[in-house]
């Protein structure tokens, strides 16, 4: 199919897009299959104690649960494509609205966690790579593995105990009552740290190893042979190359963070997609589970697509455009 495109880059983008669409469709089928497998009577579990049989019957018809599977799958696809993720059986509101109201919280939390881990992890990794074998390098090696190994909910608990209770520096709850910006930002510190801790370690290690690899490359020797300062070599020449694997990892990172966010959101009583899914699971609120999980998947897949495509912004070797290559 690449042949269809004269421009290789365009072909790459197109095939990535196609894969992304296929993945999202696959995820939809999987989600649909899951909810179609629900044991027991969905109406009873959703409508609660006072549900009369007539109500249950109408509910089933309303949800289209009396239709054959393929019809339901077809309808599900159609609905999702028109932006309809179904109706929350408890509040009667469209799932899209629910998801939209909590999505910003999760997005802000995950992205600030990613941002923080890059902000801290990258300098740590550079330091370790340029001071290879030093005491700080060894300490960092242990600390970063420890950060990676400890689950974020454990870190969340300890951050809460230390900073909110013992030291009383920061609030317990992850969102403010007023929605005032400064207060809101203050309340994000602990959740962000809890979520980012593992990634700080992860990125530090990744940057360290790719920096070490890059620093051994011939072009770095060239830069040295021309007397360029170590600073310029490290931060300009080597860092850009070392960034490529780091960026690749960030895409996957979003997925991990979205998962970790569930627990962090619960511990800090912060609104978010993860908590929405968790609570919907406890209530067996399937339309919400289905809709919210689908949004998480789409978010994840789209971020990965963007990450993949953004390599080309950094690495000119992918940014091939016709007519520029030339012979000697």
């Amino acid at each position: 199919m690449t042949r269809l495109f004269k421009d290789e880059r365009l072909g790459y983008v197109a095939s990535r897009l196609l894969t992304t669409v296929l993945i999202v469709f696959g995820a939809m089928v999987l989600l649909f299959a899951l909810t179609a497998l629900v044991p027991g009577d969905p109406a009873k579990s959703l409508l609660g104690p006072q549900a009369s049989p007539e109500l249950a019957k109408r509910f089933i018809a309303e949800m289209g649960l009396d239709q054959p599977l393929h019809v339901r799958l077809w309808r599900f696809f159609g609905a999702v494509l028109t932006g309809n993720l179904g109706v929350d059986v408890i509040s009667g509101k469209p799932v899209v609205q629910l998801v939209a109201s909590v999505l910003p919280y999760t997005v802000i939390l995950t992205f600030s966690a990613i941002g923080l881990s890059v902000l801290i992890g990258v300098p740590l990794g550079i330091h370790a790579a340029t001071h290879r074998g030093s005491a700080s390098d060894t300490i960092l090696a242990f600390v970063s593995v420890a950060f990676i190994a400890v689950p974020s909910f454990v870190i969340a608990i300890f951050l809460l105990l230390i900073f909110a209770i013992w030291l009383d520096w920061l609030p317990v709850l992850g969102t403010s009552r007023s929605g005032e910006f400064l207060d809101e930002a203050r309340r994000m510190i602990l959740p962000t740290l809890a979520l980012a801790a593992g990634w700080i370690g992860f990125i530090a290690r990744l940057v360290r190893s790719s920096m070490l690899e890059v620093l051994g490359e011939p072009y770095i020797r060239t830069a040295r042979a021309y007397g360029l300062s170590e600073r310029l070599i490290t931060y300009k020449y080597a860092l850009k190359n070392a960034c490529i694997p780091t960026i690749a990892i960030l895409g996957l990172g979003i997925g991990r963070l979205l998962g970790g966010a569930v627990l962090v959101e619960i511990v800090f009583a912060r609104p978010g997609l993860g908590r929405l899914v968790y609570e919907a699971v406890s209530e067996r609120n399937f339309p919400v589970v289905q809709g919210a999980v689908l949004v998480v998947v789409v978010l994840f897949v789209v971020v990965n697509l963007i990450v993949d495509l953004s390599y080309s912004a950094i690495d000119p070797r992918i940014r091939r455009s016709s007519g520029q290559g030339a012979g000697a």
Partner: protein
């Protein structure tokens, strides 16, 4: 025996560094605790003594007791059994499924390969804890569901590596020779392919153990994992956290146990990887 010698040599290389040695020590301790929990534990982990709740550490209860007066040390030790059995069974499942799918992908037609790869991508598109929540929503929580979920989320990982390994081996001269000599497909797969791709996969599996332990602990922390009275480390942390105001010991000790185990497994797994082939599993 040759393989044994090779394994021992790899182990020696892996434990050569400080981090590797520390990791290996923790690894052995956790495995021992998991295997011999009934012998090591000083009490029945489920024996209640409500009158003696939150007892401080003592000669009778090394780490004190929890909110129902159960012996914390014994519960932690038994927690290792649960963590390890969930981790090992999930990884074994994922390893088996991943290897089969990976080999299939490498040998199937283009279309078949694409289907399998897209399937991997679809599964990998769900953050594992989120997929776990969705599945628990349908089937309800139980140890079996936890194992199944973790196995499912790990399968693409093994599958991709297995496929890549097979692709590099597929046209190797010794396989060509076998094929020309008329060896059956099964013989090629079982005698030649599997032994050759297993090394990296096993290393990968060892690196995945801490990931599995973390997912299981997270689910149990949410009350969606292992069922009581079985005590997973995640459950112990949740219990300890809920009764934090009564005693800080349970939550701290059980968090430490979980953290130490995952730390040890991570260190050991990485040392093992570096000893076998530093390029495996770098993307994780």
């Amino acid at each position: 025996m040759n393989t044994l010698a090779a394994i021992l040599a790899t182990l020696r290389r892996a434990t050569g560094s400080i981090t590797g040695a520390v990791g290996f020590t923790i690894f052995v301790l956790v495995i021992l605790a998991a295997l011999f929990a009934p012998v090591i534990a000083t009490h029945d982990p489920d024996a209640l003594d409500v009158m003696n709740r939150f007892a401080p550490p003592s000669a009778a209860h090394w780490l004190g007791t929890d909110h129902l007066g159960r012996d914390l040390f014994s519960r932690l030790i038994h927690g290792a059994t649960i963590a390890m059995s969930v981790a090992l069974s999930a990884i074994a499942l994922a390893l088996a499924a991943g290897t089969v799918l990976g080999i299939l992908a490498a040998y199937l037609s283009d279309r078949g390969e694409r289907v399998i790869l897209i399937l991997f991508d679809v599964i990998a598109a769900f953050p594992s804890l989120v997929l776990a929540l969705a599945i628990v929503a349908v089937f309800g929580p139980s140890t079996g569901v936890v194992v199944a979920i973790v196995a499912l989320t790990m399968t693409p990982h093994f599958g991709r590596v297995a496929r890549a390994q097979v692709l590099t081996l597929k046209n190797a001269p010794f396989l060509e020779a076998e094929r020309i000599l008329g060896a059956s497909g099964a013989r090629i797969v079982f005698v030649h392919l599997l032994p050759n791709i297993m090394g990296p996969l096993v290393v990968l599996a060892s690196m995945d153990i801490p990931v599995v332990i973390t997912i299981e602990a997270g689910l149990s922390f949410l009350g969606l994992g292992v069922r009581p009275p079985l005590a997973s480390w995640g459950t112990l942390i949740q219990d300890g956290y809920q009764f934090l105001s009564d005693s800080w010991i349970p939550v701290v000790v059980s968090s430490l146990a979980l953290a130490l185990a995952t730390l040890g497994f991570t260190l050991f797994g990485e040392a093992l990887r570096d000893a076998v082939d530093p390029r495996i599993g770098r993307e994780r």
